[in-house]
Symmetry: C2
Subunit: 170 residues, 2 copies
């Protein structure tokens, strides 16, 4: 009974965390598909990041989750330099918005395929940026931590993209 109860509670916790992730992904997807390519070129506030930079940034961050979580190599490693290492307006030319939207869906679909195979114990295993030795001392540096931090990261940028959306609707 004890084991069954634990497993049930753990399954529920995993389900809630995945729901939080997929909800944030869906919110970003809704916004970036409702904005035209031209709309995405606009700044979320005067002098601040453009919509397309934020979209590219999230694509690059999620692409980097593939190796970090042990799911394989990045699909679009060239995006790191443009959207993570460099700020907006650093002089890089960006891929077309239509490509970034496609990458966004492709990478998130792939992540979710892997997520659904993970039980609670699997989420608690180390991520690839920490060595097995360090993980013994720092067991919180696990895949669950990556999932949660990337979920709040999406929410942060969602709060910004929504400004761009309502700006255009005005």
């Amino acid at each position: 009974m004890e084991t069954v109860n634990h497993s049930t509670a753990e399954d529920i916790a995993v389900k809630i965390l995945l729901k939080s992730w997929t909800t944030q992904v869906a919110r970003i997807t809704d916004i970036v598909t409702s904005l035209s390519d031209n709309d995405l070129q606009k700044e979320i506030a005067p002098g601040k990041n453009t919509g397309i930079y934020i979209l590219g940034h999230m694509v690059a961050v999620h692409d980097a989750m593939l190796p970090l979580l042990g799911f394989g190599s990045k699909l679009y490693p060239q995006l790191e330099q443009i959207f993570i290492t460099s700020p907006d307006k650093a002089g890089h030319s960006f891929p077309p918005a239509s490509d970034l939207r496609k990458y966004w869906s492709e990478i998130n679909d792939l992540l979710l395929q892997h997520y659904t195979k993970f039980d609670f114990e699997a989420w608690l295993t180390r991520h690839e940026a920490v060595s097995p030795e360090d993980f013994v001392k720092e067991p919180h540096r696990n895949k669950l931590n990556v999932l949660i931090s990337r979920t709040t990261h999406m929410s942060y940028h969602h709060g910004q993209l929504v400004l761009l959306k309502s700006k255009i609707q005005d």
Copy 2:
């Protein structure tokens, strides 16, 4: 051994979730204490919400977590009408920013005192907005769900407040 491993993994998961919460609280606290009362009156983007409305909104949302998580009554129930039911610029007069900053710290300190008494199992129990009957069918409507959704909610508004901060630093 099985029980010990489960408990350890569950403790780590709880620790990660609380760290995510306290990190978001600290980020919001840092911004709203670094902005002057006058700065907080400004809009995050032209025609959008003011900093003080967003601060008041988060105070009211966290205050409502006290009864929702079974920790007691709201401390400032009068804030709901101003900062949750009504949008910004609806004609309500707001409490001074200095009061809202104080409420923010007070409520988050109180929430954290309760959080630290909760183990994994306690987080999985139902929140007060769901009946015991419905909870049997919908076990994800638990306190953990509230914690996670309010964490992403903070991150959403953090992404907006940071625009106000950099605006003033320009």
